[in-house]
């Protein structure tokens, strides 16, 4: 039987096992929406802005391990989605983005709602396709799912002209697909792995530095086993939080611009650095010239060869899925009697404990104002560390990352690479859909939340009982902090006059709003909000306006050139 292109799109999604599609209809995708309407297997979540659709699909993917799917119309539908696509691309999130396009005969004619989708999105997708013939549609969609999820994951876009959704052809969804030009190396080189193990066993001052790749590849059990077996200190990047338990004594805190003093010192002064699924980016190692140490050996495991030796020269590169490589390393270490020198390790831990005595995350707990750090710590206690936290971008993101101890992977969902304000709430929608019974909290700020505030309406429609913790300091806090430190207190446009009444706003959208102004009310408010398991609660915490995130490595500085709270 012959199916229309629109029917084929929906059949492909069904056959791929897609549960949710996040989207927004429009002229070019009307045929597809009509087919969505006629079935129940694939559920559609109607957002209020295409950026929200992409972030929701992204959050869904980060939480569920599945490929996130978004569906938007041509022209403005696509341009609105670009921020979400780029966000997923920077964090290597597997997604398939289906976009409507004007009919093939109208392409290039400056038609209504036409844009060069493939051209606009080319630099921020893993790959993209324009389907000009309905006969290619099913195979292309299969390829999109395959490319998105394998190798280094990422978003793949399929642009479908309206006439292709009307044209008919026979349907068969390919079981597998292969591309002769796409063969990612997935198995680490045995010789390199042996070399790495040798280095680890001989290390006197080792450090394990793990990133988002460990989460994406579900390699947290292997990483945890390896770190515990060796007794090494371990840090997780912003994207890797939860890969190694945050409450484990071997965890030294996050590295980088707002990492802990002890982690940054250990990263800089170690003799063997094992990097797993991390990419030495500017926010993690600061200035690469300063980071360089001739006497430090670096082992780097990553699925993407181009991540290796990009910013930092590496001594032992290993390309492959991090989980499989760690399995091989564990096999070698467990099968050998050799262990790292305990005396050397003890000495190294002694140095690290000395650094830890600086207590770099200390803050004023006696203040009459609400300290944002205290809110995150109270949230940690109130949720017993078991919530799934999404965040936006800025100071609140750093405080959430520093003070909420993530013991499990995929509990911390944030836009690390692109740093997209507005990510938190729509991402939380995707997360809550995957985890209907779980506590999902969006930690945000009054500036970020307003970038996708319209999604409060989506939350109402789909009964998503997200808890929004708004750390409201009436400033774009991170911008204000930089202006205080580096721009002579000239707070150019970082103050928001005329903020909305968030309590009333939440209520207007049909939710519960709470305003908390005193430190003594933090615990009670959180408890009350978390008890409302059926409702979205917007908690507006009025926090200390002048609080800063410490430690801080100023942009372009070396990793150990930190500003600490006590120094100001």
């Amino acid at each position: 039987m012959q199916l229309t292109g629109a029917e084929i799109v929906i059949r492909c999604l069904q056959d791929e096992g897609v549960e949710y599609v996040f989207g927004y209809p429009g002229g070019a995708v009307l045929n597809i929406y009509d087919e969505l309407f006629k079935q129940e297997k694939v559920k559609h979540v109607l957002v209020r802005h295409e950026q929200g659709a992409l972030h929701a699909a992204d959050g869904y993917s980060r939480s569920s391990r599945k490929v996130g799917v978004a569906l938007v119309t041509s022209g403005p539908g696509v341009t609105n989605a670009v921020t979400g696509i780029a966000t997923a691309y920077m964090d290597s999130i597997p997604m398939v983005v289906l976009t409507g396009q004007v009919p093939t005969h109208a392409i290039g004619q400056d038609a209504f709602q036409e844009c060069d989708t493939v051209g606009i999105t080319r630099p921020c997708v893993k790959h993209n396709f324009l389907v000009k013939d309905v006969k290619d549609l099913a195979t292309t969609i299969k390829k999109a799912f395959y490319l998105a999820a394998t190798g280094r994951p990422g978003p793949v876009l399929v642009d479908i002209p309206k006439d292709v959704t009307q044209a008919k052809t026979d349907y068969a969804y390919p079981k597998t697909v292969s591309l002769r030009s796409y063969n990612p190396v997935t198995k680490g080189h045995a010789g390199q792995i042996r070399k790495a193990v040798q280095l680890l066993l001989e290390a006197k001052r080792p450090m394990v530095y793990s990133g988002g790749g460990v989460i994406l590849n579900d390699a947290s059990p292997q990483l945890t086993r390896l770190v515990r077996l060796l007794g090494f200190p371990c840090t997780n990047t912003l994207m890797g939080l939860g890969a190694f338990p945050g409450t484990d004594p071997q965890f030294t805190g996050m590295p980088g611009m707002h990492g802990t003093f002890e982690t940054n010192m250990a990263m800089q002064n170690c003799d063997v650095l094992l990097a797993v699924g991390a990419r030495f980016d500017d926010r993690v190692i600061g200035n690469p010239q300063h980071f360089f140490r001739a006497d430090r050996k670096i082992i780097h495991i990553d699925i993407d060869p181009s991540s290796i030796s990009k910013r930092v020269k590496v001594d032992v590169p290993i390309v492959g899925y991090v989980g499989e490589v760690l399995d091989e390393m564990l096999k070698l270490i467990e099968g050998s009697p050799a262990r790292p020198d305990p005396a050397a390790l003890k000495g190294w831990w002694g140095e690290i404990k000395e650094w830890q005595r600086r207590d770099c995350l200390r803050y004023d707990k006696s203040s009459a104002l609400i300290k944002p750090q205290a809110v995150v710590e109270a949230l940690y206690r109130a949720t017993k560390g078991d919530a799934i936290i999404t965040s936006d971008v800025g100071q609140h993101q750093m405080w959430a990352a520093q003070y909420y101890k993530f013991d499990k992977p995929r509990r911390w969902i944030n836009s690390g690479g692109l740093g997209t304000m507005g990510f938190g709430l729509p991402a939380a929608m995707g997360v809550q859909l995957v985890n209907p019974g779980s506590t999902v909290v969006c930690v945000t700020g009054e500036a970020s939340i307003q970038m996708c505030i319209q999604e409060l309406s989506t939350c109402k429609q789909y009964h998503l009982p997200i808890k929004i913790v708004n750390l409201n300091n009436r400033y774009m806090g991170m911008v204000r902090q930089w202006q205080e430190f580096f721009y002579g207190n000239r707070y150019a446009e970082s103050y928001m006059d005329a903020l909305p009444d968030f309590v009333k706003l939440a209520e207007a959208y049909g939710h519960v709003g709470m305003k908390i102004e005193k430190p003594g009310d933090i615990e009670g408010a959180l408890k009350e909000a978390l008890a409302q398991t059926e409702r979205l609660v917007f908690l507006d915490f009025i926090t200390d306006q002048t609080e800063n995130v410490f430690p801080m490595v100023p942009g372009g500085k070396g990793l150990t050139e930190m500003i600490l709270a006590e120094e100001l």
């Binding site: 080319r122 490319l147 002769r180 030009s181 060869p305 181009s306 030796s309 990009k310």
Partner: protein
Amino acid sequence: MKHILSILVENEAGALSRISGLFSARGYNIESLTVAPTEDPTMSRMTIVTVGSDDVIEQITKQLNKLVEVVKVVDLTDGNHIERELMLVKVRAAGKDRDEMKRLADIFRGRVLDVTDKSYTIELTGTGEKLDAFLTAIEPGVILETVRTGASGIGRGERILKI
């Protein structure tokens, strides 16, 4: 240092812009770029001449390999190779310059393809350096127009780029 990268790429719409876009997005240089289908019409071969340190060339190669449509990348300058570029140059050739121009073309093994009473159109092949040398050998004032294909390259002997 100058490198000649040979790239086998799927002969698909958009492949060229993916590759050129990669160079501009990451700030790499393109000295020349030439592309045409191979004996297998589903595949094109591209030759890119670029300049960069070893680290940069390594990154370029890795980034190219990451593109889904790129089948294979080889840095021809890693080993023995042949490099050829075609140039067509239209020069003023009148009066006493006319004989001299013909002689110069002969020295560079150029061929005169088209003649008017005031001009020659000369075809020249060779390495980029040889073509440069010809252009510096003649007086800049007599050059009316030049067009160059950019370098094509192939490995010597048994060095073969194929899938």
